[in-house]
């Protein structure tokens, strides 16, 4: 895992997101190579954060750095001739130089127990039929995959996962459900995901996890983070209920 992450400087664009944030664009598509850069830069920016740094938000192909312009200006503008954006851009360029030397961190593997089918996964038969597979085969394929967490967004703790097998892709429901229960595991197109909160949605629900993906009082509050690898582990209804009782 000592692979170096090469960064082609020409391709890197830094642009403002208003007067208090800066976006570093590391690519234009969703793939693991771009993701590795996003992850490495996120880790580095947090490790070498500057005075006035508030936080950074990794996404599919970019990292956004939020900062306090006043603190940045007062701390770093000794010559009184640079704007906060210029100062942050300069500091991020310095951080990016180290990116070439940064070791690739081993991803964290997070197992998520899922009770497939039945009342927890009412659309499992549909997904099977759609792909000319048996219900068991869909479970086998879904739970043998490794899913990369590209980013967390949309809702607290909601992971954007990559790596769903095309063999079990399925279209969204024609009419969305008014409410998808917390912990639902679903498929929409060639994406799979887990709902940390109850929300309306058109995903095909194939199962449910008793694990809490988001807990405001935990630190960190989200079970998953950008860069993690998720594995779904099938459990029975009894195990699901037992899990719920013991973690409540």
């Amino acid at each position: 895992m000592n692979q170096r992450i090469g960064l082609d400087k020409e391709k890197i664009e830094m642009k403002p997101l208003g007067d208090s944030a800066l976006v570093i664009q590391l690519g234009t598509e969703i793939n693991t190579a771009v993701h590795k850069k996003v992850r490495a830069l996120t880790i580095l920016s947090e490790k070498h954060s500057f005075t006035g740094f508030i936080e950074c938000v990794p996404a599919f192909a970019s990292v956004t750095v939020f900062y306090n312009p006043l603190i940045v200006k007062r701390t770093y503008d000794t010559e009184n001739n640079s704007s906060p954006f210029q100062l942050v851009r300069f500091m991020m360029e310095e951080i990016m130089k180290q990116l070439v030397e940064e070791k690739e961190e081993k991803p964290r593997i997070v197992e998520i127990p899922v009770c497939y089918g039945g009342e927890y996964g009412p659309d499992l038969p549909f997904v099977a039929e759609e792909n000319n597979l048996s219900v068991e085969e869909v479970i086998e394929i879904h739970s043998s995959g490794e899913y990369l967490v590209y980013m967390i967004g949309f809702a607290p703790g909601f992971p954007y996962l990559g790596g769903l097998s095309e063999k079990i892709a399925a279209p969204r429901r024609s009419s969305p459900r008014v409410s998808i229960p917390v912990g639902s595991v679903g498929i929409a197109g060639n994406q799979t995901g887990v709902y940390p909160i109850s929300t309306p949605g058109g995903w095909q629900l194939i199962g449910r996890t008793p694990a809490a993906l988001f807990h405001p009082k935990h630190n960190p509050p989200s079970l998953l983070a950008s860069g993690d690898v998720v594995k779904f582990v099938p459990i029975t209804v009894e195990e699901y209920e037992h899990y719920q009782e013991t973690t409540r």
Binding site: P16, L17, E55, C56, A61, G153, I197, P216, K217
Partner: protein, 335 residues
């Protein structure tokens, strides 16, 4: 020391300057919609500027003071009265035990902030007392205030105590007593058709030339589908020159994004952390409080400024706030 909610009104919640540091976990920032007014309310009663206060929306809220209290009301003028007498804004006010403060009518703006000297004793969740209503996170039990809620108040600073005792002596038979000075800041938030300063967004150039022109030439109206998460605007429909796939990435307070239907949405305090719609513009930080005080039906226009200008305005505003801080400490010293 505590404040009891008699009636919550349209919407009242506990907010501070927001929950930063957790956006990478998808945690919504929240916080005061008009952060300028929140900071001022706190400074006026000797608090740290980021202390939590009550954000009152539109009207109908009434609060009872269970002890003698020192408070400040800032933001929009929502017609605050005690026993029929108007309570002045933008200054510290002593309130006698048992008094009921009512917000009677939206006279200007739509959000008021009530800060109490000492701040509210509310547990922090992820380093913030702000309420994220949709997610049930933070604030008072993760929800909007309800009738019967009792909000405990922490000990006030020595400066605030001095002011408290000074005003208490002046009280006489009245139920509240204020000072004769105030922070002249209300004009920043006045209503009417507002000119809101923006810098071009990352996808501005991807919009059609007529959309780019009408974005600045024509006015937009804030629709009723507007809340703490964002304002949906109606006006000229904005279209892309050519549709394209955009990858989700971070958005910020004041990001103006345009979904396919062409009606822009201004993202505000309870926005999602990331978004995938084209961003036509970004509101300058100094104008966010102005926008936050506009209510549904209000009109606004956008005017372009450069990033450098937005930064200068930001720095100038912070200097103004520092001047207010200095001024306030001198006032308190002279008591």
């Amino acid at each position: 020391m505590s404040i009891k909610v008699i009636r919550p009104g349209l919407l009242a919640s506990i907010q501070d300057l927001g929950r930063y540091g957790y956006q990478k976990y998808g945690v919504i920032v929240s916080g005061a919609m008009d952060s300028f007014s929140l900071r001022m309310a706190n400074l006026l009663v000797g608090n740290q500027e980021g202390e939590a206060a009550i954000e009152v929306t539109m009207m109908g809220t009434s609060l009872q003071f269970e002890e003698d209290s020192l408070i400040a009301i800032t933001g929009g003028n929502l017609g605050p009265v005690i026993e029929g007498a108007s309570v002045p804004l933008w200054r510290p006010v002593f309130i006698k035990k048992g008094s009921i403060l009512q917000f009677t009518a939206c006279q200007s703006g739509c959000r008021a902030y009530v800060a109490a000297a000492g701040g509210f004793e509310i547990p922090e969740v992820m380093n913030s007392k702000s309420t994220y209503l949709r997610g049930g996170i933070g604030g008072f039990d993760g929800r909007a205030l309800q009738a019967g809620d009792v909000l405990p108040i922490q000990h006030k600073t020595r400066e605030a105590s001095r002011l408290f005792h000074y005003l208490k002596k002046e009280l006489g038979e009245r139920s509240f007593q204020s000072v004769d000075w105030y922070v002249p800041a209300g004009h920043l938030l006045n209503a009417g058709e507002r000119i809101v300063r923006v810098i071009k967004g990352a996808e501005f150039e991807r919009f059609s030339s007529s959309s780019k022109a009408s974005f600045f030439d024509q006015s937009f109206q804030i629709t009723h589908q507007s809340d703490r998460m964002g304002y949906r605007l109606s006006g000229p429909k904005l279209q892309l020159e050519q549709s394209f796939e955009l990858l989700s990435e971070a958005v910020a307070e004041g990001t103006i994004q345009v979904p396919q239907a062409g009606n822009p949405i201004v993202l505000l305090a309870d926005r999602q952390t990331t978004g995938g719609y084209p961003r036509i513009a970004q509101i300058a930080s100094v104008d966010l409080p102005v926008v936050a005080q506009l209510k549904p039906g209000a009109k606004l226009r956008f005017t372009e400024i450069s990033l450098e200008e937005a930064e200068q305005l930001y720095l100038k505003r912070e200097e103004d706030i520092e001047a207010v801080k200095t001024g306030l400490s001198l006032k308190e010293w002279s008591l």
